[in-house]
Protein backbone atom coordinates (compact mmCIF):
# COMPACT_ATOMS: atom_id res chain seq x y z
CA UNK A 1 0.00 0.00 0.00
CA UNK A 2 2.78 2.30 0.89
CA UNK A 3 4.10 1.79 -2.62
CA UNK A 4 0.93 3.14 -4.04
CA UNK A 5 1.04 6.06 -1.71
CA UNK A 6 4.54 6.68 -2.90
CA UNK A 7 3.11 7.09 -6.42
CA UNK A 8 4.93 10.01 -7.89
CA UNK A 9 5.80 12.33 -5.04
CA UNK A 10 7.60 15.41 -6.17
CA UNK A 11 10.74 14.87 -4.20
CA UNK A 12 12.44 17.84 -2.71
CA UNK A 13 15.44 15.96 -1.44
CA UNK A 14 18.28 14.54 -3.54
CA UNK A 15 16.70 12.80 -6.48
CA UNK A 16 17.67 9.88 -8.67
CA UNK A 17 19.72 11.12 -11.57
CA UNK A 18 17.91 11.66 -14.85
CA UNK A 19 18.66 8.95 -17.42
CA UNK A 20 20.58 11.15 -19.78
CA UNK A 21 22.66 12.47 -16.88
CA UNK A 22 23.65 8.94 -15.97
CA UNK A 23 24.56 8.28 -19.56
CA UNK A 24 26.69 11.36 -19.83
CA UNK A 25 28.20 10.69 -16.44
CA UNK A 26 30.00 13.45 -14.64
CA UNK A 27 28.11 16.70 -15.12
CA UNK A 28 25.01 15.85 -13.02
CA UNK A 29 26.92 15.44 -9.79
CA UNK A 30 28.12 19.00 -9.93
CA UNK A 31 24.66 20.51 -9.94
CA UNK A 32 22.43 19.75 -6.89
CA UNK A 33 18.79 19.70 -7.84
CA UNK A 34 17.66 21.63 -4.81
CA UNK A 35 19.27 23.67 -2.14
CA UNK A 36 19.16 22.48 1.46
CA UNK A 37 17.55 25.67 2.65
CA UNK A 38 14.13 25.53 1.06
CA UNK A 39 12.93 22.27 2.57
CA UNK A 40 13.93 23.53 5.99
CA UNK A 41 11.83 26.66 5.52
CA UNK A 42 8.92 24.63 4.21
CA UNK A 43 9.22 22.21 7.12
CA UNK A 44 9.09 25.04 9.63
CA UNK A 45 6.16 26.68 7.88
CA UNK A 46 4.29 23.37 7.85
CA UNK A 47 5.06 22.77 11.51
CA UNK A 48 3.71 26.15 12.49
CA UNK A 49 0.61 25.69 10.37
CA UNK A 50 -0.16 22.40 12.11
CA UNK A 51 0.66 23.93 15.49
CA UNK A 52 -1.79 26.69 14.65
CA UNK A 53 -4.53 24.13 13.97
CA UNK A 54 -3.78 22.38 17.25
CA UNK A 55 -3.79 25.67 19.13
CA UNK A 56 -7.14 26.53 17.57
CA UNK A 57 -8.65 23.64 19.54
CA UNK A 58 -7.51 25.27 22.76
CA UNK A 59 -8.54 28.62 21.34
CA UNK A 60 -12.09 27.42 20.72
CA UNK A 61 -12.50 26.13 24.26
CA UNK A 62 -10.96 29.35 25.56
CA UNK A 63 -13.41 31.37 23.49
CA UNK A 64 -16.34 29.34 24.82
CA UNK A 65 -15.27 30.00 28.40
CA UNK A 66 -14.58 33.67 27.69
CA UNK A 67 -17.91 34.25 25.92
CA UNK A 68 -19.92 32.50 28.59
CA UNK A 69 -18.23 34.30 31.47
CA UNK A 70 -18.29 37.80 30.02
CA UNK A 71 -21.86 37.53 28.73
CA UNK A 72 -23.22 36.18 32.00
CA UNK A 73 -21.45 38.77 34.13
CA UNK A 74 -24.47 41.03 34.44
CA UNK A 75 -26.73 38.32 35.77
CA UNK A 76 -24.03 37.00 38.08
CA UNK A 77 -23.63 40.43 39.66
CA UNK A 78 -27.37 40.91 39.96
CA UNK A 79 -28.21 37.60 41.60
CA UNK A 80 -25.03 35.82 42.69
CA UNK A 81 -25.37 32.26 43.90
CA UNK A 82 -29.04 32.79 44.67
CA UNK A 83 -29.63 32.61 40.91
CA UNK A 84 -29.57 28.82 41.08
CA UNK A 85 -31.88 28.52 44.08
CA UNK A 86 -34.63 30.97 43.19
CA UNK A 87 -37.61 29.65 41.33
CA UNK A 88 -39.07 32.83 39.87
CA UNK A 89 -38.43 33.31 36.16
CA UNK A 90 -40.07 36.58 35.29
CA UNK A 91 -38.56 38.37 32.27
CA UNK A 92 -41.14 41.16 32.49
CA UNK A 93 -39.94 42.29 35.90
CA UNK A 94 -36.30 41.28 35.32
CA UNK A 95 -36.37 38.67 38.05
CA UNK A 96 -34.52 35.50 37.22
CA UNK A 97 -34.05 32.30 39.17
CA UNK A 98 -32.89 29.14 37.47
CA UNK A 99 -33.97 26.53 40.01
CA UNK A 100 -36.87 25.09 37.95
CA UNK A 101 -34.48 24.49 35.06
CA UNK A 102 -31.81 22.91 37.22
CA UNK A 103 -34.48 20.71 38.77
CA UNK A 104 -35.95 19.74 35.40
CA UNK A 105 -32.53 18.91 33.99
CA UNK A 106 -31.58 16.77 36.98
CA UNK A 107 -34.89 14.91 37.19
CA UNK A 108 -35.18 14.20 33.47
CA UNK A 109 -31.57 13.00 33.29
CA UNK A 110 -31.92 10.84 36.41
CA UNK A 111 -35.08 9.30 35.00
CA UNK A 112 -33.31 8.66 31.71
CA UNK A 113 -30.41 6.90 33.43
CA UNK A 114 -32.79 4.85 35.57
CA UNK A 115 -34.34 3.45 32.40
CA UNK A 116 -31.26 3.37 30.20
CA UNK A 117 -28.58 1.85 32.46
CA UNK A 118 -30.08 -1.63 32.93
CA UNK A 119 -31.03 -1.78 29.25
CA UNK A 120 -27.64 -0.62 28.03
CA UNK A 121 -25.73 -3.03 30.25
CA UNK A 122 -28.06 -5.83 29.23
CA UNK A 123 -27.43 -5.07 25.57
CA UNK A 124 -23.66 -4.90 26.09
CA UNK A 125 -23.62 -8.17 28.03
CA UNK A 126 -25.69 -9.88 25.36
CA UNK A 127 -23.56 -8.62 22.48
CA UNK A 128 -20.16 -9.34 24.00
CA UNK A 129 -20.85 -12.51 25.97
CA UNK A 130 -23.96 -14.26 24.74
CA UNK A 131 -24.83 -13.56 21.13
CA UNK A 132 -23.78 -15.90 18.36
CA UNK A 133 -20.50 -14.69 16.88
CA UNK A 134 -22.00 -13.99 13.49
CA UNK A 135 -24.69 -11.76 14.94
CA UNK A 136 -22.33 -9.69 17.05
CA UNK A 137 -21.23 -7.13 14.47
CA UNK A 138 -24.72 -6.61 13.13
CA UNK A 139 -26.18 -6.09 16.61
CA UNK A 140 -23.43 -3.67 17.57
CA UNK A 141 -23.95 -1.69 14.39
CA UNK A 142 -27.72 -1.58 14.82
CA UNK A 143 -27.63 -0.38 18.40
CA UNK A 144 -25.11 2.25 17.46
CA UNK A 145 -27.40 3.41 14.68
CA UNK A 146 -29.58 4.78 17.48
CA UNK A 147 -26.85 7.31 18.15
CA UNK A 148 -26.83 8.48 14.54
CA UNK A 149 -30.46 9.61 14.59
CA UNK A 150 -30.58 13.38 15.08
CA UNK A 151 -32.17 14.75 18.20
CA UNK A 152 -34.82 16.66 16.27
CA UNK A 153 -36.05 13.44 14.65
CA UNK A 154 -36.37 11.79 18.06
CA UNK A 155 -38.37 14.84 19.09
CA UNK A 156 -40.63 14.57 16.06
CA UNK A 157 -41.19 10.88 16.69
CA UNK A 158 -41.84 11.51 20.38
CA UNK A 159 -44.45 14.19 19.70
CA UNK A 160 -46.46 12.09 17.26
CA UNK A 161 -45.87 8.53 18.46
CA UNK A 162 -44.52 8.33 21.99
CA UNK A 163 -46.64 11.05 23.59
CA UNK A 164 -50.01 9.74 22.34
CA UNK A 165 -48.94 6.26 23.44
CA UNK A 166 -48.11 7.53 26.92
CA UNK A 167 -51.31 9.53 27.15
CA UNK A 168 -53.61 6.72 26.12
CA UNK A 169 -52.06 3.63 27.62
CA UNK A 170 -49.00 4.05 29.79
CA UNK A 171 -49.98 6.96 31.98
CA UNK A 172 -53.47 5.71 32.91
CA UNK A 173 -51.89 2.37 33.75
CA UNK A 174 -49.19 3.94 35.90
CA UNK A 175 -51.71 6.19 37.63
CA UNK A 176 -53.96 3.27 38.49
CA UNK A 177 -51.38 0.85 39.80
CA UNK A 178 -48.58 3.12 41.01
CA UNK A 179 -50.55 6.23 41.87
CA UNK A 180 -49.84 5.63 45.57
CA UNK A 181 -46.20 6.61 45.04
CA UNK A 182 -47.47 10.14 44.23
CA UNK A 183 -45.03 10.14 41.32
CA UNK A 184 -47.78 9.51 38.81
CA UNK A 185 -50.49 11.99 39.64
CA UNK A 186 -52.43 14.56 37.74
CA UNK A 187 -53.94 14.64 34.27
CA UNK A 188 -52.15 12.44 31.74
CA UNK A 189 -51.13 14.99 29.10
CA UNK A 190 -48.56 12.70 27.59
CA UNK A 191 -46.19 15.63 27.33
CA UNK A 192 -44.09 16.14 30.45
CA UNK A 193 -41.19 14.88 32.50
CA UNK A 194 -41.93 11.19 31.85
CA UNK A 195 -41.89 11.62 28.07
CA UNK A 196 -38.63 13.58 28.30
CA UNK A 197 -37.04 10.90 30.47
CA UNK A 198 -38.05 8.11 28.10
CA UNK A 199 -36.83 9.84 24.95
CA UNK A 200 -33.57 10.74 26.69
CA UNK A 201 -33.18 7.13 27.76
CA UNK A 202 -33.50 5.97 24.15
CA UNK A 203 -30.84 8.50 23.16
CA UNK A 204 -28.26 7.59 25.83
CA UNK A 205 -28.57 3.80 25.59
CA UNK A 206 -26.18 3.54 22.60
CA UNK A 207 -23.57 5.69 24.37
CA UNK A 208 -23.60 3.69 27.58
CA UNK A 209 -23.74 0.34 25.82
CA UNK A 210 -20.90 1.11 23.41
CA UNK A 211 -18.60 2.17 26.27
CA UNK A 212 -19.68 -0.86 28.30
CA UNK A 213 -18.89 -3.14 25.39
CA UNK A 214 -15.52 -1.47 24.98
CA UNK A 215 -14.49 -1.97 28.61
CA UNK A 216 -15.90 -5.51 28.72
CA UNK A 217 -13.84 -6.41 25.68
CA UNK A 218 -10.79 -4.98 27.46
CA UNK A 219 -11.15 -7.60 30.21
CA UNK A 220 -8.64 -10.36 29.40
CA UNK A 221 -10.04 -13.61 28.07
CA UNK A 222 -8.15 -15.57 30.76
CA UNK A 223 -10.39 -14.03 33.41
CA UNK A 224 -13.39 -15.62 31.77
CA UNK A 225 -11.71 -18.94 31.27
CA UNK A 226 -10.48 -19.02 34.86
CA UNK A 227 -13.94 -18.45 36.28
CA UNK A 228 -15.52 -20.96 33.90
CA UNK A 229 -12.89 -23.53 34.90
CA UNK A 230 -14.05 -23.21 38.49
CA UNK A 231 -17.43 -24.48 37.40
CA UNK A 232 -19.30 -21.21 37.14
CA UNK A 233 -22.34 -20.82 34.97
CA UNK A 234 -22.17 -18.24 32.22
CA UNK A 235 -23.91 -15.59 34.29
CA UNK A 236 -21.62 -16.23 37.27
CA UNK A 237 -18.67 -15.88 34.93
CA UNK A 238 -19.98 -12.59 33.54
CA UNK A 239 -20.72 -11.22 37.00
CA UNK A 240 -17.52 -12.16 38.78
CA UNK A 241 -15.10 -12.35 35.87
CA UNK A 242 -16.18 -9.55 33.56
CA UNK A 243 -18.52 -7.03 35.13
CA UNK A 244 -16.54 -6.78 38.34
CA UNK A 245 -13.34 -6.03 36.46
CA UNK A 246 -15.00 -3.58 34.12
CA UNK A 247 -16.92 -1.84 36.90
CA UNK A 248 -15.09 1.47 36.80
CA UNK A 249 -15.32 1.67 33.03
CA UNK A 250 -19.04 0.93 33.06
CA UNK A 251 -19.48 3.69 35.62
CA UNK A 252 -17.58 5.92 33.20
CA UNK A 253 -19.96 4.97 30.40
CA UNK A 254 -22.97 5.75 32.59
CA UNK A 255 -21.53 9.13 33.50
CA UNK A 256 -20.80 9.85 29.84
CA UNK A 257 -24.45 9.07 29.15
CA UNK A 258 -25.37 11.45 31.94
CA UNK A 259 -23.29 14.17 30.29
CA UNK A 260 -25.16 13.65 27.07
CA UNK A 261 -28.55 13.65 28.80
CA UNK A 262 -27.82 16.86 30.69
CA UNK A 263 -26.95 18.79 27.56
CA UNK A 264 -29.53 17.29 25.22
CA UNK A 265 -31.73 20.01 23.84
CA UNK A 266 -34.10 19.48 20.96
CA UNK A 267 -35.90 16.23 21.75
CA UNK A 268 -36.44 17.31 25.35
CA UNK A 269 -37.64 20.76 24.36
CA UNK A 270 -40.22 19.18 22.07
CA UNK A 271 -41.82 16.94 24.69
CA UNK A 272 -41.16 18.24 28.20
CA UNK A 273 -43.86 20.91 28.13
CA UNK A 274 -41.62 23.90 28.76
CA UNK A 275 -43.16 25.26 31.94
CA UNK A 276 -40.87 26.48 34.71
CA UNK A 277 -42.64 24.59 37.46
CA UNK A 278 -41.47 22.21 40.11
CA UNK A 279 -43.84 19.31 40.45
CA UNK A 280 -43.33 15.99 42.11
CA UNK A 281 -45.45 14.13 39.61
CA UNK A 282 -43.66 12.83 36.54
CA UNK A 283 -46.77 13.54 34.49
CA UNK A 284 -46.37 17.27 35.04
CA UNK A 285 -44.64 19.48 32.48
CA UNK A 286 -41.19 20.80 33.31
CA UNK A 287 -38.36 22.76 31.77
CA UNK A 288 -34.63 22.10 31.42
CA UNK A 289 -31.59 24.34 31.26
CA UNK A 290 -30.90 23.52 27.64
CA UNK A 291 -34.55 23.95 26.61
CA UNK A 292 -34.93 27.36 28.18
CA UNK A 293 -31.92 28.58 26.20
CA UNK A 294 -33.27 27.03 23.01
CA UNK A 295 -36.71 28.56 23.45
CA UNK A 296 -35.94 32.00 24.76
CA UNK A 297 -32.47 33.00 23.61
CA UNK A 298 -33.35 34.45 20.23
CA UNK A 299 -36.34 36.32 21.68
CA UNK A 300 -34.65 37.57 24.82
CA UNK A 301 -35.04 41.32 25.04
CA UNK A 302 -33.05 43.20 27.61
CA UNK A 303 -29.47 42.69 28.65
CA UNK A 304 -30.24 41.10 31.99
CA UNK A 305 -32.57 38.54 30.40
CA UNK A 306 -29.94 37.52 27.86
CA UNK A 307 -27.28 37.48 30.54
CA UNK A 308 -29.40 35.22 32.75
CA UNK A 309 -29.81 32.77 29.87
CA UNK A 310 -26.08 32.75 29.25
CA UNK A 311 -25.51 32.11 32.94
CA UNK A 312 -27.78 29.05 32.68
CA UNK A 313 -25.56 28.02 29.76
CA UNK A 314 -22.41 28.58 31.77
CA UNK A 315 -23.69 26.38 34.59
CA UNK A 316 -24.63 23.68 32.10
CA UNK A 317 -21.19 23.95 30.49
CA UNK A 318 -19.35 23.58 33.80
CA UNK A 319 -21.44 20.60 34.89
CA UNK A 320 -21.08 18.73 31.60
CA UNK A 321 -17.33 19.37 31.50
CA UNK A 322 -16.85 17.97 35.00
CA UNK A 323 -19.06 14.99 34.21
CA UNK A 324 -17.19 14.26 30.97
CA UNK A 325 -13.75 14.49 32.53
CA UNK A 326 -14.79 12.17 35.32
CA UNK A 327 -16.19 9.70 32.80
CA UNK A 328 -13.06 9.70 30.68
CA UNK A 329 -10.92 9.11 33.73
CA UNK A 330 -13.04 6.13 34.77
CA UNK A 331 -13.02 4.57 31.31
CA UNK A 332 -9.27 5.11 31.12
CA UNK A 333 -8.68 3.19 34.36
CA UNK A 334 -10.10 0.08 32.68
CA UNK A 335 -8.87 0.39 29.11
CA UNK A 336 -5.32 1.60 29.79
CA UNK A 337 -4.12 -2.00 29.64
CA UNK A 338 -4.29 -3.36 33.15
CA UNK A 339 -7.82 -4.12 34.26
CA UNK A 340 -8.95 -2.37 37.42
CA UNK A 341 -8.51 -4.54 40.47
CA UNK A 342 -11.67 -5.53 42.23
CA UNK A 343 -10.56 -4.72 45.73
CA UNK A 344 -13.95 -4.05 47.23
Amino acid sequence: MANRALGEPRLTGPQPLPKEAVAVGTQAAAKPLITAGDSRVADRAFYFAMLGCALSVIGIVGLIVYELITKSNLSWHAFGWRFFFRSDWDPVNDQFGAFPFVYGTLVSSALALLIAVPLAIGVAVYITEMSPRGLRGALAFTTELLAAIPSVIYGLWAIFVLVPLLRQYVQPFLARYFGWTTLFEGPPYGIGMLAAGIILAIMVVPIISSITREVMTAVPQQQREAVLALGATRWEMIRTGVLRNARAGIAGGVILGLGRALGETMAVTMVIGNRPEIAKSLFAPGYTMASVIANEFSEATGDLYLSALVEVGLALFIVTIIVNILAQFLVWTVTRGTPARGNA
Binding site: A2, A49, C53, A120, L139, L145, W235, A290, S298
Partner: protein, 299 residues
Protein backbone atom coordinates in the same frame (compact mmCIF):
# COMPACT_ATOMS: atom_id res chain seq x y z
CA UNK B 1 -27.39 -30.05 45.51
CA UNK B 2 -26.25 -29.35 49.10
CA UNK B 3 -22.49 -29.41 49.42
CA UNK B 4 -20.63 -29.85 52.65
CA UNK B 5 -17.81 -27.44 53.19
CA UNK B 6 -16.06 -29.46 55.87
CA UNK B 7 -14.85 -32.17 53.54
CA UNK B 8 -12.03 -31.39 51.16
CA UNK B 9 -13.41 -31.70 47.67
CA UNK B 10 -11.33 -32.69 44.71
CA UNK B 11 -12.21 -31.67 41.17
CA UNK B 12 -13.05 -35.27 40.38
CA UNK B 13 -15.82 -35.13 42.96
CA UNK B 14 -17.60 -32.54 40.82
CA UNK B 15 -17.13 -34.37 37.56
CA UNK B 16 -20.74 -35.33 37.19
CA UNK B 17 -22.31 -33.13 39.84
CA UNK B 18 -25.08 -31.19 38.13
CA UNK B 19 -25.11 -27.42 38.58
CA UNK B 20 -27.91 -26.70 40.99
CA UNK B 21 -31.31 -25.80 39.66
CA UNK B 22 -31.15 -22.35 41.25
CA UNK B 23 -27.90 -21.45 39.55
CA UNK B 24 -29.04 -22.78 36.22
CA UNK B 25 -32.33 -20.96 36.59
CA UNK B 26 -30.61 -17.68 37.37
CA UNK B 27 -28.35 -18.15 34.38
CA UNK B 28 -31.31 -18.72 32.09
CA UNK B 29 -33.15 -15.78 33.62
CA UNK B 30 -30.25 -13.40 33.02
CA UNK B 31 -29.76 -14.63 29.48
CA UNK B 32 -33.42 -14.04 28.88
CA UNK B 33 -33.25 -10.58 30.47
CA UNK B 34 -30.27 -9.58 28.33
CA UNK B 35 -32.07 -10.73 25.21
CA UNK B 36 -35.10 -8.76 26.40
CA UNK B 37 -32.96 -5.65 26.76
CA UNK B 38 -31.77 -6.03 23.17
CA UNK B 39 -35.35 -6.33 21.96
CA UNK B 40 -36.45 -3.32 24.04
CA UNK B 41 -33.64 -1.22 22.59
CA UNK B 42 -34.20 -2.30 19.00
CA UNK B 43 -37.93 -1.65 19.31
CA UNK B 44 -37.71 2.17 19.34
CA UNK B 45 -35.14 2.00 16.55
CA UNK B 46 -37.53 0.02 14.40
CA UNK B 47 -40.39 2.29 15.43
CA UNK B 48 -38.50 5.47 14.53
CA UNK B 49 -37.41 4.19 11.12
CA UNK B 50 -40.77 2.57 10.48
CA UNK B 51 -42.67 5.77 11.18
CA UNK B 52 -40.21 7.88 9.19
CA UNK B 53 -40.73 5.73 6.13
CA UNK B 54 -44.45 5.26 6.68
CA UNK B 55 -45.20 8.93 7.25
CA UNK B 56 -42.46 10.44 5.16
CA UNK B 57 -42.52 8.59 1.89
CA UNK B 58 -46.06 9.61 1.00
CA UNK B 59 -45.23 13.27 1.53
CA UNK B 60 -42.15 13.44 -0.62
CA UNK B 61 -43.05 14.68 -4.04
CA UNK B 62 -41.68 17.01 -6.64
CA UNK B 63 -43.24 20.07 -5.01
CA UNK B 64 -41.67 19.19 -1.68
CA UNK B 65 -38.25 18.98 -3.25
CA UNK B 66 -38.49 22.02 -5.51
CA UNK B 67 -40.72 24.60 -3.80
CA UNK B 68 -40.26 26.90 -0.86
CA UNK B 69 -42.72 26.92 2.08
CA UNK B 70 -46.21 28.30 1.62
CA UNK B 71 -47.70 30.61 4.29
CA UNK B 72 -49.00 28.81 7.41
CA UNK B 73 -52.09 26.73 6.85
CA UNK B 74 -51.94 26.76 3.05
CA UNK B 75 -51.46 23.36 1.47
CA UNK B 76 -48.51 22.60 -0.79
CA UNK B 77 -45.09 24.09 -0.79
CA UNK B 78 -41.88 22.33 0.08
CA UNK B 79 -38.54 22.43 1.74
CA UNK B 80 -36.26 23.07 -1.21
CA UNK B 81 -34.73 26.13 0.43
CA UNK B 82 -34.16 24.24 3.68
CA UNK B 83 -32.43 21.35 1.91
CA UNK B 84 -30.29 23.81 -0.03
CA UNK B 85 -29.64 25.82 3.12
CA UNK B 86 -28.51 22.76 5.05
CA UNK B 87 -26.08 21.82 2.31
CA UNK B 88 -24.84 25.42 2.20
CA UNK B 89 -24.30 25.64 5.97
CA UNK B 90 -22.61 22.24 6.01
CA UNK B 91 -20.26 23.35 3.23
CA UNK B 92 -19.32 26.45 5.21
CA UNK B 93 -18.83 24.33 8.33
CA UNK B 94 -16.69 21.78 6.48
CA UNK B 95 -14.50 24.43 4.90
CA UNK B 96 -13.54 25.64 8.38
CA UNK B 97 -13.80 22.45 10.38
CA UNK B 98 -12.15 19.88 8.12
CA UNK B 99 -8.76 21.61 7.57
CA UNK B 100 -8.54 22.67 11.21
CA UNK B 101 -9.41 19.20 12.46
CA UNK B 102 -7.04 17.40 10.11
CA UNK B 103 -4.27 19.88 10.89
CA UNK B 104 -4.68 19.41 14.62
CA UNK B 105 -4.73 15.64 14.10
CA UNK B 106 -1.50 15.83 12.10
CA UNK B 107 0.08 17.89 14.85
CA UNK B 108 -0.93 15.37 17.51
CA UNK B 109 0.36 12.32 15.70
CA UNK B 110 3.46 13.74 13.98
CA UNK B 111 4.75 16.31 16.47
CA UNK B 112 2.83 15.94 19.70
CA UNK B 113 3.31 12.25 20.43
CA UNK B 114 3.84 11.76 24.14
CA UNK B 115 4.56 15.43 24.79
CA UNK B 116 2.80 17.29 27.55
CA UNK B 117 1.51 19.88 25.09
CA UNK B 118 0.16 17.12 22.85
CA UNK B 119 -1.69 15.61 25.79
CA UNK B 120 -3.16 19.00 26.62
CA UNK B 121 -4.49 19.39 23.07
CA UNK B 122 -5.87 15.86 23.10
CA UNK B 123 -7.59 16.47 26.41
CA UNK B 124 -9.00 19.80 25.22
CA UNK B 125 -10.38 18.15 22.09
CA UNK B 126 -12.14 15.57 24.25
CA UNK B 127 -13.55 18.32 26.44
CA UNK B 128 -14.78 20.17 23.37
CA UNK B 129 -16.43 16.98 22.18
CA UNK B 130 -18.54 16.90 25.34
CA UNK B 131 -19.74 20.50 25.19
CA UNK B 132 -23.52 20.55 24.68
CA UNK B 133 -24.45 21.77 21.21
CA UNK B 134 -26.68 24.53 22.54
CA UNK B 135 -23.65 26.09 24.26
CA UNK B 136 -21.78 26.11 20.97
CA UNK B 137 -24.75 28.00 19.57
CA UNK B 138 -24.46 30.67 22.28
CA UNK B 139 -20.78 31.11 21.51
CA UNK B 140 -21.27 31.35 17.74
CA UNK B 141 -24.01 33.89 18.45
CA UNK B 142 -21.63 35.97 20.51
CA UNK B 143 -18.79 35.67 17.99
CA UNK B 144 -20.52 36.08 14.67
CA UNK B 145 -24.11 37.23 15.07
CA UNK B 146 -23.35 40.05 17.49
CA UNK B 147 -20.42 41.33 15.46
CA UNK B 148 -22.31 41.12 12.15
CA UNK B 149 -25.50 42.51 13.56
CA UNK B 150 -27.80 39.77 12.30
CA UNK B 151 -28.33 36.02 12.10
CA UNK B 152 -26.43 34.46 9.23
CA UNK B 153 -25.42 31.32 7.38
CA UNK B 154 -21.84 32.05 8.42
CA UNK B 155 -22.75 31.94 12.12
CA UNK B 156 -24.46 28.58 11.63
CA UNK B 157 -21.45 27.30 9.73
CA UNK B 158 -19.07 28.43 12.46
CA UNK B 159 -21.17 26.72 15.14
CA UNK B 160 -21.19 23.44 13.24
CA UNK B 161 -17.48 23.75 12.41
CA UNK B 162 -16.69 24.02 16.12
CA UNK B 163 -18.56 20.77 16.65
CA UNK B 164 -16.76 19.01 13.80
CA UNK B 165 -13.22 19.85 14.88
CA UNK B 166 -12.77 17.51 17.89
CA UNK B 167 -14.16 14.43 16.11
CA UNK B 168 -11.97 14.98 13.06
CA UNK B 169 -8.91 15.76 15.17
CA UNK B 170 -9.12 12.57 17.21
CA UNK B 171 -9.89 10.22 14.33
CA UNK B 172 -7.20 11.77 12.13
CA UNK B 173 -4.68 11.34 14.93
CA UNK B 174 -5.67 7.72 15.51
CA UNK B 175 -5.50 6.90 11.82
CA UNK B 176 -2.10 8.54 11.34
CA UNK B 177 -0.76 6.65 14.35
CA UNK B 178 -1.68 3.41 12.57
CA UNK B 179 0.68 4.22 9.71
CA UNK B 180 3.88 2.30 10.45
CA UNK B 181 6.90 4.38 11.36
CA UNK B 182 8.91 2.47 8.73
CA UNK B 183 6.91 4.09 5.95
CA UNK B 184 7.91 7.54 7.18
CA UNK B 185 11.53 6.49 7.56
CA UNK B 186 11.56 5.10 4.04
CA UNK B 187 10.48 8.49 2.76
CA UNK B 188 13.07 10.31 4.84
CA UNK B 189 15.65 7.88 3.52
CA UNK B 190 14.83 8.97 0.00
CA UNK B 191 15.48 12.52 1.05
CA UNK B 192 11.85 13.58 1.11
CA UNK B 193 11.31 16.52 3.41
CA UNK B 194 9.25 16.10 6.51
CA UNK B 195 6.19 18.11 5.46
CA UNK B 196 6.09 16.35 2.15
CA UNK B 197 6.35 12.98 3.87
CA UNK B 198 3.47 13.88 6.16
CA UNK B 199 1.19 15.02 3.36
CA UNK B 200 2.10 12.68 0.51
CA UNK B 201 3.05 9.57 2.43
CA UNK B 202 1.56 9.43 5.91
CA UNK B 203 -1.68 11.27 5.33
CA UNK B 204 -2.17 9.59 2.00
CA UNK B 205 -1.70 6.12 3.45
CA UNK B 206 -4.33 6.92 6.06
CA UNK B 207 -6.69 8.63 3.62
CA UNK B 208 -9.64 6.29 4.04
CA UNK B 209 -9.43 6.47 7.82
CA UNK B 210 -9.27 10.23 7.77
CA UNK B 211 -12.25 10.37 5.42
CA UNK B 212 -14.11 8.11 7.85
CA UNK B 213 -13.52 10.64 10.60
CA UNK B 214 -14.65 13.52 8.43
CA UNK B 215 -17.83 11.72 7.42
CA UNK B 216 -18.60 10.79 11.02
CA UNK B 217 -18.21 14.43 12.03
CA UNK B 218 -20.36 15.42 9.07
CA UNK B 219 -23.08 12.95 10.01
CA UNK B 220 -22.96 14.17 13.58
CA UNK B 221 -23.55 17.81 12.71
CA UNK B 222 -25.85 17.29 9.73
CA UNK B 223 -28.87 16.83 11.96
CA UNK B 224 -27.89 19.35 14.61
CA UNK B 225 -30.61 21.82 15.38
CA UNK B 226 -29.82 23.46 18.70
CA UNK B 227 -26.71 25.38 17.56
CA UNK B 228 -28.58 26.72 14.51
CA UNK B 229 -31.56 28.13 16.41
CA UNK B 230 -29.96 31.49 17.00
CA UNK B 231 -27.19 31.44 14.43
CA UNK B 232 -28.61 30.43 11.02
CA UNK B 233 -32.08 31.16 12.46
CA UNK B 234 -34.10 29.84 9.53
CA UNK B 235 -35.68 31.55 6.57
CA UNK B 236 -38.88 31.04 4.60
CA UNK B 237 -37.17 31.97 1.35
CA UNK B 238 -34.06 31.11 -0.61
CA UNK B 239 -30.86 32.67 0.60
CA UNK B 240 -27.33 32.25 -0.68
CA UNK B 241 -25.84 35.29 1.04
CA UNK B 242 -23.37 34.30 3.68
CA UNK B 243 -24.42 37.10 6.02
CA UNK B 244 -28.17 36.51 5.89
CA UNK B 245 -30.42 34.16 7.87
CA UNK B 246 -30.66 30.80 6.16
CA UNK B 247 -33.11 27.93 6.32
CA UNK B 248 -31.88 24.52 7.41
CA UNK B 249 -33.58 21.15 7.16
CA UNK B 250 -33.31 20.39 10.86
CA UNK B 251 -34.64 23.83 11.87
CA UNK B 252 -37.53 23.45 9.47
CA UNK B 253 -38.41 20.03 10.91
CA UNK B 254 -38.42 21.53 14.40
CA UNK B 255 -40.59 24.51 13.42
CA UNK B 256 -43.05 22.32 11.55
CA UNK B 257 -43.22 19.62 14.23
CA UNK B 258 -44.27 22.05 16.97
CA UNK B 259 -46.69 23.92 14.69
CA UNK B 260 -50.43 23.24 14.87
CA UNK B 261 -50.92 22.51 11.14
CA UNK B 262 -51.40 19.00 9.79
CA UNK B 263 -49.89 19.97 6.47
CA UNK B 264 -46.71 21.09 8.22
CA UNK B 265 -46.59 17.93 10.33
CA UNK B 266 -46.70 15.92 7.12
CA UNK B 267 -43.83 17.94 5.69
CA UNK B 268 -41.85 17.57 8.92
CA UNK B 269 -41.94 13.79 8.47
CA UNK B 270 -40.88 14.10 4.87
CA UNK B 271 -38.01 16.41 5.84
CA UNK B 272 -36.96 14.03 8.59
CA UNK B 273 -36.90 11.13 6.14
CA UNK B 274 -34.66 13.09 3.78
CA UNK B 275 -32.37 14.08 6.65
CA UNK B 276 -32.02 10.52 7.92
CA UNK B 277 -31.36 9.18 4.42
CA UNK B 278 -28.60 11.78 4.08
CA UNK B 279 -27.05 10.73 7.38
CA UNK B 280 -27.39 6.97 6.99
CA UNK B 281 -25.99 7.23 3.47
CA UNK B 282 -22.90 9.02 4.72
CA UNK B 283 -22.41 6.59 7.60
CA UNK B 284 -22.90 3.66 5.20
CA UNK B 285 -20.41 5.15 2.76
CA UNK B 286 -17.96 5.39 5.65
CA UNK B 287 -18.28 1.70 6.42
CA UNK B 288 -17.78 0.84 2.79
CA UNK B 289 -14.68 3.00 2.50
CA UNK B 290 -13.31 1.84 5.84
CA UNK B 291 -13.77 -1.83 4.97
CA UNK B 292 -11.99 -1.85 1.66
CA UNK B 293 -9.83 1.18 2.19
CA UNK B 294 -6.12 1.55 1.86
CA UNK B 295 -5.67 1.54 5.59
CA UNK B 296 -6.53 -2.10 5.89
CA UNK B 297 -3.72 -2.97 3.53
CA UNK B 298 -1.25 -0.77 5.37
CA UNK B 299 -1.54 -2.86 8.48
Amino acid sequence: MPETTTKIMLPSDFADAPISLGRRGLNALVTFAALGAVVLVLLPLAAVFGYLIYKGIGSINLAFLTQIPKPPGEPGGGMANAIGGSVYILLIASSFGVPLGIGAGIYLSEYGRGTRFGNLIRFTADVLNGVPSIIVGIVAYGLVVLSQGHFSALAGGVALAIMMVPTITRTTEEMLLLVPQIVREAAYGLGVSRWRTTLSITLRTATSGVITGVMLAFARVAGETAPLLFTAFGNQYWNWKINQPTAALSLQIFTYAISPFDEWHRQAWAGALILIVLIVASVGAVRLVANRGMLKGAN
